[in-house]
Symmetry: C2
Subunit: 135 residues, 2 copies
Amino acid sequence: MIKLSKKIEYGILALQYIAIHSDKIISAKEISEQMGIPYEFLSKTLQQLMKKGLIQSQQGIKGGYVLSKKPSDLTVKDIIIALEGKASFLDCFVSSKGLVCDRSPNCTIKNPMERLQSKVMQVFGTTTIEEIAAN
Amino acid sequence: MIKLSKKIEYGILALQYIAIHSDKIISAKEISEQMGIPYEFLSKTLQQLMKKGLIQSQQGIKGGYVLSKKPSDLTVKDIIIALEGKASFLDCFVSSKGLVCDRSPNCTIKNPMERLQSKVMQVFGTTTIEEIAAN
DNA sequence: ATTATATCCGACTATTGTAATCCGATTTTT
DNA sequence: AAAAATCGGATTACAATAGTCGGATATAAT
Ligand code: FES
Ligand code: FES
């Protein structure tokens, strides 16, 4: 339904929260409670964002997360790609090797759809966490 | 994964096909065979597009479909809305009555996400079938 | 009239992807 | 040593997508 997954929604909420409280290190528990996000699911999401380098983690009793980049350098596109891999409107776009669907290689929508997708990704790529945090 | 549903993919393929062969009336079977789309599923999709007024149908042995509007007036946004109802990035956006999630009404991402969505919809709204058919 | 070919439409099933949970291990401060 | 946090694999629950089935109706050609 052209909607963002909960994972991405939670990711944006969490990064926004961390960005706003950038003076201290933020635990998954705090975000979970403050934002009303299932703890376990959020933890997984934060770990994934960490693995992709968007945030840095500190383990142990005083642990938590901080941003790796400035909020103004962190875009929604970064988050989407970190959490769901390369975004692609059509399945066919994913395959780097061989054909996925029988329409290819004589596909009549591949080019126009790729152009459309790149326009949309440009929108995501120019929307930053800073902008979102500012409301 | 920020991807378009098969329904929308098929809808675009079908409308593009009808637009290109606008000199004659096109049956679901022809589109199904030429584009490699499951017939039953495509039929449903075309009926839905018909109900929403994007195409007109002709029943009977020489029946089929023609576009209601010029390809230059038919956008991807039209197709998405016809096939999936009002698009919305977050579940919260759908509800016109009451609260869907416990974050509302003090939600910190509602406004920025709505702005983001409207930008994306603008991209969809300015991409026409004519443009897609031209490749 | 009959037949062939088309749209129409509800109900159903199968498959996939999302969302969430469970459980245990590791790390680090107190 | 204990408490509080991250880490991470495996599993389950649920929902949405994708596709199918069976039959009804409409229309044109024979
Ligand atoms: S739809 Fe598969 S290659 Fe275009
Ligand atoms: S996330 Fe539900 S109102 Fe914002």
